[in-house]
Symmetry: C2
Amino acid sequence: MPRTELEYPKEPYGTVKRYSPRASYALRTIHTIINTSPILHVSFNDPSPSSSPSPSPFPTILPMLGQMGSFARPSADEGDVLDLYLHGYVSSRLINISRQPSSSSSTPDAASPPPPPPPPPGLPVCIAASHLDGLVLALTPNAHSYNYRSAILYGHATLVSDPSERLYAMQLITDGVVPGRWAASRVPPNKGEMASTSVLKVRIATGSAKIRQGPPGDDKGDKEDEEVTGRVWTGVVPVYQVLGEPVAGPYNEVKEVPGYLGEYVRETNGMTREAAFEAAKEVVVKKGGEGE
Amino acid sequence: MPRTELEYPKEPYGTVKRYSPRASYALRTIHTIINTSPILHVSFNDPSPSSSPSPSPFPTILPMLGQMGSFARPSADEGDVLDLYLHGYVSSRLINISRQPSSSSSTPDAASPPPPPPPPPGLPVCIAASHLDGLVLALTPNAHSYNYRSAILYGHATLVSDPSERLYAMQLITDGVVPGRWAASRVPPNKGEMASTSVLKVRIATGSAKIRQGPPGDDKGDKEDEEVTGRVWTGVVPVYQVLGEPVAGPYNEVKEVPGYLGEYVRETNGMTREAAFEAAKEVVVKKGGEGE
């Protein structure tokens, strides 16, 4: 664990421009939001769609599973410099692209001097994770908001070719779904499973997080209008994700829900519920004197 | 309501390539997933970062609020052709870009013949929404999966300049957070609020959805291995989002939680929980004979 809290560099493309007092660049904050998000949204440009005569003008987004980790230093914690490993519904498209050497073809308008240094290898990707913690209901629609924790990472994705690193990432991601699940399932993967599994590793260039907590904050004029405050309910509806009672599948032979799973369900439910209710009450310290 | 179910065209960039039996191109399916997602992830390329000497190689993603609707035909339902209205933490960056006329600068490698037709006005964007419905725990890590409903839309975003269309969109989005909230709050917005509110309208080019439901599906070899089935619990942990008991804010003067709000909380919680448990049991009809 580093002694001081590390922060990502503030690149022009990665700087939070709106409501900046809500922003954080701390690795620990960002990595925790990413690691507790069951689905990550991964965006990239497809430089060469094979089946199309003209390239797509749109970036695309894939929902994927991922966890931050360090293969070189597996004991590293969430405050350390980490890579992001991605797996799950990895499209063959994304994998094919990330196999190609990086080129500037995904960099629009590359005509301006000075010539940029060669980009790191891999496909430029952007990864987002967002947790909704509450509906913030204010006097006016404009002052409505959400309590949320969101993070974004920018980096270069490459396919992991080293089998032992791939195995490390597969375990990291499986245990990210339910801690301890890897060891409790049929492992190691056989040859066919290893061959058919693709893992992407994203070397992070920068990232940021944005967090909003607390009750609604209306303008003074509305708060002092008794006609309005007398009729419009204001407050927060806490929102949290619940893990339901596990439902055994058709070929399950294990009578009892195993301890590690039952415990994870109970602990997670307690924590997420408490966090949502805490966020509903907590007043955010405003550094910049900004309003809502 | 259209008599037949409309579908989006299968463009090369928008076609689901993996597990295609799980794919849907039906407008109703896609629009429902978008409209029930409290946070949308919006991806775009920034063609001209003003503060940077060289353009960013990365697409970016912003979490935003949005709802599908038709200003021209407000009675249109989710199976109709609709626009996506985006609001919320709209970055000034995104708004500035979408004010500019569309150019091919965001189209990498535009050198190949034949010359493409001029793109529609607006910024090319991609929008994703993903609902997690369950953790699918199989015998082997490779057969692990999620139950989920995800949708993706591609289109061109422009700023809404017509004040009455902006008002329509603001109400649509506010009522998307809690139905009936617009009329129950202090409306209409005053001049300052209207001037400071930006709404983006996305004309949809195409889209798709992907849905996975049901219990785990392992390979025959593992299911017939009694050593494995005797020790590995298999099944689904249903996952659903809960709206907690509303927490009144510091300047709330309305003693009782209003009926429309209490009802929405109760109804939503009942539906999402039931859907997650239903998804845990339901066996997906596999059209293509694909495995897990």
